[in-house]
């Protein structure tokens, strides 16, 4: 076996240390969630979580699932059109679809609240959360769908068309099954981001009176930050997200994340 040279050891040491620094806030929340005020370890904090927390977790999960499904439904045709056809004003369309990703969350949330008060009055309910998340996370889903379509060779579709399949049939039976794994990266990222979305949900909580799980955690931090049950709440939300990421990596692996969040 070849002995690793000095520079390799230093490289690994550096990467491990920096990774550790990134993980510190998350790890420390987990440790804190098992600590009692006396400094001993126990799971009593988890029993201290108020019953109102669980419906909010369920609500956040539902919102995340709605967001993923609706985003998939609306971005697949858009990504198909953007990758397969050339048309006038393509970059303007792309800018309209992607622009929201570059707008600071606080400004986006304020603009939505103003529009909900003045134009879309029906959105001062759970519907408001859904449209906010669907529009806000459209760019990340669109990006991964576009990458998936670009990687798919056009010749499959051409072959189906040559064999007499109609446009819709080709799309349903050839294109869609082939890009399936590729768009999974968009599904996972949209799920994680919308489940944990904080700032827009925090601002919408006022006018709508609906609290999602992350907003509830923030509320508890500001009112009772020193208590262990808050750490337990935060740890549960992190655990759900990490489980989803872990399962995704176990089943699909990292290859479809390349070009989107990996380099």
């Amino acid at each position: 076996m070849r002995r690793p040279d000095f520079s390799t050891i230093v490289s690994y040491a550096y990467v491990i240390i920096v990774s550790f620094i990134i993980l510190v806030p998350f790890v420390i929340t987990f440790i804190r969630s098992f600590m009692t005020p006396e400094g001993t370890l126990s799971i009593s904090n988890y029993f201290g979580i108020a019953g109102v927390f669980w419906p909010k977790v369920w609500l956040s999960l539902q919102l995340a699932i709605y967001t993923v499904v609706l985003d998939l439904v609306i971005t697949i045709p858009a990504a198909y059109a953007l990758t397969r056809f050339d048309f006038k004003g393509k970059s303007a369309v792309l800018l309209t679809l992607m622009g929201v990703w570059y707008v600071p969350g606080i400004s986006y949330a304020l603009s939505l609240i103003l529009s909900f008060y003045l134009i879309y009055k029906a959105c001062l309910s759970i519907l408001g959360f859904i449209v906010t998340y669907v529009t806000g996370f459209l760019p990340i889903m669109l990006l991964s769908t576009i990458v998936a379509f670009r990687r798919l060779d056009v010749s499959y579709e051409e072959a189906a068309r040559c064999l007499g399949a109609s446009g819709l049939k080709t799309f349903l039976h050839v294109t869609l099954p082939l890009i399936g794994p590729g768009i999974s990266s968009g599904v996972i990222l949209t799920f994680i981001l919308s489940f944990n979305e904080f700032i827009t949900a925090f601002l919408l909580a006022g006018p709508t009176g609906i609290l999602t799980a992350p907003v509830k955690v923030f509320d508890d931090i500001s009112h009772a930050g020193m208590y262990g049950f808050v750490a337990a709440e935060a740890a549960i939300l992190q655990l759900i997200s990490l489980t989803v990421i872990f399962l995704y990596l176990k089943i699909v692996g990292t290859r479809y994340l390349k070009g989107i969040v990996f380099f």
Partner: protein, 266 residues
């Protein structure tokens, strides 16, 4: 394509235009009969200039830490680390869980009764010197935006052929001059775009400044002020003016980032 475009038009473009429009009206007069005024912007650039300064200083501190720590990270993942490379990349996914958890975790870590205090006392630093200072907020912001800047720098570095460095090495350049005269000029666009991207995300953060001292008078940042002025004091005109200015700043930096790097979205 139509449904997606419709969503983006209805819930991004229309509210955006509305926000801009409201920013020229006085107080919350827009809801009754709008009184048009430029006063909001005058106030934004006079009374709220310290908030802008605080926001920009914090965001650039965070972005600078990101670039300093992230550049070697991106380089090593590209060139040196073969085994476990995907494991380290996966770790970069974790800050995507959001600023809230980062803020909460570090808040407890930096508390005078927290776990870091005894270690700091050993070095003679007071345990009260950390929390609610720009330093703690900048560290939290740096962790939050680390993946974004590493991604920009990593994409750029992966496009640079290692042949250039090998050629320089063959011609007798040492480690340091290879870095200074070959790698750094070639990867400068990635470095800049990483900084811009981190900066653009940092100025919109809310939970981190809220828990790390951004609420204290004199250290307030824009995101806190926008919520306080708009939703608590009901001065929607001024809040909209601040929010519009924040959007403009973010857009300038994000597009600068994309312009220099021609990289991916986030």
């Amino acid at each position: 394509m139509l449904p997606a475009l419709l969503m983006a038009l209805l819930f991004f473009v229309v509210p955006f235009v509305l926000l801009f429009y409201v920013s020229f009206t006085e107080g919350s007069s827009y809801f009754f009969n709008p009184i048009f005024t430029l006063d909001n912007y005058v106030k934004a650039f006079t009374d709220h200039l310290p908030d802008f300064r605080n926001t920009l200083v914090l965001a650039s501190l965070g972005a600078t830490i990101d670039v300093i720590l992230g550049y070697p990270y991106a380089y090593l993942l590209n060139r040196k680390i073969r085994k476990l490379g995907d494991f380290f990349r996966t770790i970069l996914l974790i800050p995507l869980l959001g600023e809230l958890y980062i803020a909460y975790g570090l808040w407890w870590l930096f508390l005078p009764t927290g776990p870091l205090a005894p270690i700091l006392e050993c070095f003679g630093i007071s345990s009260f010197a950390l929390l609610y200072t720009p330093f703690s907020a900048a560290v939290a912001l740096a962790i939050y935006t680390f993946p974004f800047s590493v991604l920009q720098m990593g994409i750029n570095l992966s496009q640079i052929d290692p042949v250039y460095e090998e050629a320089a090495s063959c011609l007798g350049a040492g480690r340091f001059s290879r870095f200074l005269h070959v790698l750094l000029p070639l990867s400068l666009p990635g470095l800049m775009s990483g900084w811009f991207m981190a900066f653009g995300w940092n100025i919109g953060a809310y939970a981190i400044p809220a828990l790390m001292g951004g609420v204290i008078i004199g250290q307030r940042v824009l995101s806190i002020q926008i919520r306080a002025i708009g939703l608590l004091m009901m001065n929607y005109g001024l809040a909209a003016a601040l929010a519009s200015t924040l959007i403009m700043i973010a857009l300038v930096f994000m597009f600068a980032s994309l312009k220099v790097s021609r990289g991916t979205l986030i």
